[in-house]
């Protein structure tokens, strides 16, 4: 890997008919690196790939390759090739002609085509398959043809859009290793899109974690795993204990009533933070020597290790250990300072544009009227901004209220779940003690005195 920035995305935004897919993204990709765009579906990773490939153009921002803006260069003039999600092999051509396609378009002479295609076939272990048609190949073989077809042109960058998604687990593992080897041997920059965090951790030099069109964190697999920047990254990459804490001073954090030593500083005194501890970093020790004691409420054998849930009164730690613990046994737990990762608390408030009706003591937003106090200073039909703390949003059975929505995401934050609910095209954030399935219908209600109304300064 060289330090040269091969591709640079500068303040790139893209929306599809009002739906934001990417918002003000900045990213550079080094020459020869294996970079993975990782995130749940709809996070904007494929959009980013298609922008680099040239199938779509950014609404805003620049995309530079070798220092030249290529944002409006058509795909056929870019030194970039793509391995498509479902391969997109040409069904009317055989394997040889599929691979030779790019060379024939460039009018390369016959002998060169022949030798290059044969080389490619050998590289992807498909020697002798040249005259087969695409339908006669298995999924894994089609995958190899797609890679060979994209690489025959010797592109500077290879884009891969979830290329292993359609393969079974064993084949996927084999292909992961093969792809990584190929990338190292050829020295080509790979940009790889996936939603599979394990795949990202195994293969990448750099991982870019995306959520809702915004980059959450960029780093090496070890960085991302060991030092997640926010609860989303911690939750998305691997398993983790996420627990709210208070940073008392540098190197001291209090969680669940216990003060721990840690290696982080610079958060100020008595600051609310989120703490991430990986399950494998927690040690189980004899109860008599431990500062923190709890009861093992669940013990599950996972093959390499046991997964033990230890209830320490108020918080349930998930611990991975190779030592066997009896269910119901009282154990001590010990968390070494370097296992504690402190993250800035992500303060979240529900903000909505609303219309005031002071006469009725009501505001209207999300297609619904809410009883509300403190509207005296506004006139009827004034446009206002309302703010509601997530803790004040009550989740109720859908039949008990008029305002209902669908659960979009549910993330465990140590003592509670953070639930994102979509209703009337707006996302609400609420806290819940119970897990909720995505797609579940749920009712929302807000007490009148918990709606903070302010003048809408945007207008």
């Amino acid at each position: 890997m060289k330090d040269k920035h091969l591709i640079e995305l500068i303040d790139v935004s893209k929306a599809y008919g009002g739906d934001v897919a990417l918002s003000h993204v900045d990213l550079y990709i080094k020459d020869g690196e294996f970079l993975t765009l990782l995130g749940p579906s709809g996070c904007g990773k494929t959009t980013m790939l298609r922008l680099i490939a040239g199938f779509i153009m950014p609404d805003e921002g620049r995309i530079e390759m070798d220092g030249v803006d290529i944002a409006s260069t058509p795909p056929y003039l870019r030194k970039v090739n793509t391995v498509f999600q479902k391969y997109a092999l040409f069904p009317h051509l055989n394997v040889f002609d599929n691979i030779a396609f790019a060379l024939k378009i460039r009018n390369v002479d016959k002998a060169t085509i022949e030798s290059k295609v044969e080389n490619m076939l050998a590289m992807v272990n498909l020697k002798g398959y040249g005259s087969r048609y695409i339908e006669q190949l298995s999924g894994g073989q089609q995958q190899r043809v797609a890679i060979a077809r994209a690489l025959v042109n010797a592109p500077q960058v290879l884009l891969l859009d979830e290329p292993l998604g359609a393969l079974d687990l064993k084949l996927r593992k084999e292909m992961q290793v093969e792809l990584k080897n190929m990338q190292q041997r050829l020295g080509i920059t790979f940009i790889y899109v996936t939603h599979d965090q394990e795949e990202a951790l195994t293969m990448s030099d750099t991982i870019v974690v995306l959520k809702d069109g915004v980059i959450q964190q960029i780093g090496t697999p070890t960085d991302i795993y060991n030092e997640p920047k926010n609860p989303f990254v911690a939750d998305f990459i691997g398993e983790s204990n996420i627990i709210p804490g208070i940073m008392l001073q540098d190197y001291k954090v209090r969680m669940n009533g216990v003060v721990y030593d840690c290696v982080d500083k610079g958060f100020g005194k008595n600051t609310e933070v989120d703490v991430v501890v990986r399950p494998e970093d927690i040690d189980i020790v004899p109860a008599e020597h431990a500062r923190v004691v709890g009861k093992a409420v669940s013990v599950v054998f996972m093959g390499v290790h046991y997964e033990v849930d230890v209830d320490c009164g108020g918080y349930e730690w998930v611990i991975q250990t190779t030592d066997f613990v009896e269910r119901g046994q009282v154990v001590g737990i010990s968390i070494p300072p370097d296992a504690i990762h402190i993250m800035k608390k992500t303060k979240q408030t529900n903000l909505f544009d609303a219309v005031a009706y002071p006469d009725d003591e009501e505001v209207e937003f999300c297609g619904h009227r809410f009883a509300c106090k403190g509207l005296e200073s506004f006139r009827t039909r004034d446009e206002v901004l309302v703010a509601i703390a997530p803790a004040d949003v009550r989740l109720v059975p859908p039949e008990d209220t008029e305002l209902t929505g669908a659960v979009k995401a549910c993330m465990f934050l140590g003592t509670h779940y953070e639930v994102t609910v979509t209703c009337d095209e707006e996302d609400w954030i609420a806290y819940s003690l119970d897990y909720m399935e995505a797609g579940e219908e749920i009712g929302l209600s807000v007490p009148a005195d918990k709606i903070a109304v302010s003048a809408n300064e945007a207008n």
Binding site: T82, Q85, K86, F90, F101, A102, I105, Q136, S138, R149
Partner: protein, 269 residues
């Protein structure tokens, strides 16, 4: 027993249906080799009617008009229709549905209405040449059938193929020519055959649009009162049936191939 009875009735039903459909045509074909001019009275075998066909200049003229109009109109309609289908497919959903429905309308429109409106249009713009009028009319009514047979193929094919072609260095034109068109070729070919067949046996629209230029069906209609030469209908019927058989057999074979292939892939897995 019940099964056999069921089979027997199913077979008889199908048989009867085919007899009713094809008996008149079969009789016509048989009697086109009959010496006597009156149908239903077999007096002996002859090729006379066929010989007469090719010695009557009006008939050979009509035959040439029919074949050339069918050939030209189906090719033009196929080119236009394929391009239209590709364009339609690339449109945004709402515009596409609107245009798709408008383009399919002539298919359900009665031929009589299409014919008369074309005639009025030609009169209105003062367009006289009968052969060209016939050609334009045939292209017009063939077009929706071509679009109709190409569009489903486009929907089946993956839009990724077009992007893959661009990705591998094709300009948009090259991508359509080298990847999209070959991929939808079966649809284009059936559209072409369909258009050719429809043009071959069209009467109503040609009758209004022709302006004095006769194709075979118009000639038959005009000479019907003098007694139809049975060979005439036969030579229209035979190519139409042949072409329809080709289209149907082709689609059956394709289906079978697809099935075989999917089975093969399944087995490998």
């Amino acid at each position: 027993m019940v099964n056999r009875l069921k089979k027997f009735f199913a077979g008889t039903y199908l048989g009867l249906m085919l007899v009713f459909l094809y008996a008149p045509i079969l009789i016509l074909i048989v009697f086109s080799f009959n010496q006597s001019k009156t149908l239903g009275n077999w007096t002996g075998f002859t090729f006379n009617w066929y010989a007469q066909l090719f010695s009557t200049p009006e008939i050979t003229d009509a035959l040439i008009v029919t074949l050339s109009v069918a050939a030209i109109s189906s090719v033009v309609a196929t080119v236009l229709g394929t391009l239209a289908a590709i364009g339609l497919h690339a449109m945004k959903r709402r515009d596409r549905l609107l245009l798709e429905n408008i383009s399919q309308l002539p298919m359900v429109n009665p031929d009589l209405v299409t014919g008369i409106s074309l005639m009025l249009l030609f009169l209105f713009v003062g367009f006289r040449d009968g052969y060209t009028r016939l050609l334009i009319a045939h292209i017009t009514f063939n077009l929706p059938y071509v679009i109709f047979s190409v569009l489903p193929k486009l929907r089946q094919s993956s839009d990724m193929l077009y992007e893959a072609a661009l990705d591998l260095g094709c300009t948009p034109m090259q991508a359509i020519q080298k990847v999209v068109i070959p991929d939808i070729m079966p649809g284009i070919v059936s559209g072409l055959i369909m258009a050719f067949t429809l043009s071959l046996d069209d009467f109503v629209i040609s009758f209004f649009a022709g302006n004095g230029v006769d194709n075979l069906s118009m000639y038959i209609y005009a000479s019907a009162r003098r007694g139809v030469n049975p060979a005439l209908s036969t030579i229209i019927f035979v190519p139409v049936v042949t072409l329809l058989l080709i289209v149907n057999l082709k689609s059956i074979r394709e289906e079978r191939n697809a099935e075989l292939q999917s089975r093969k892939v399944d087995m490998k897995r």
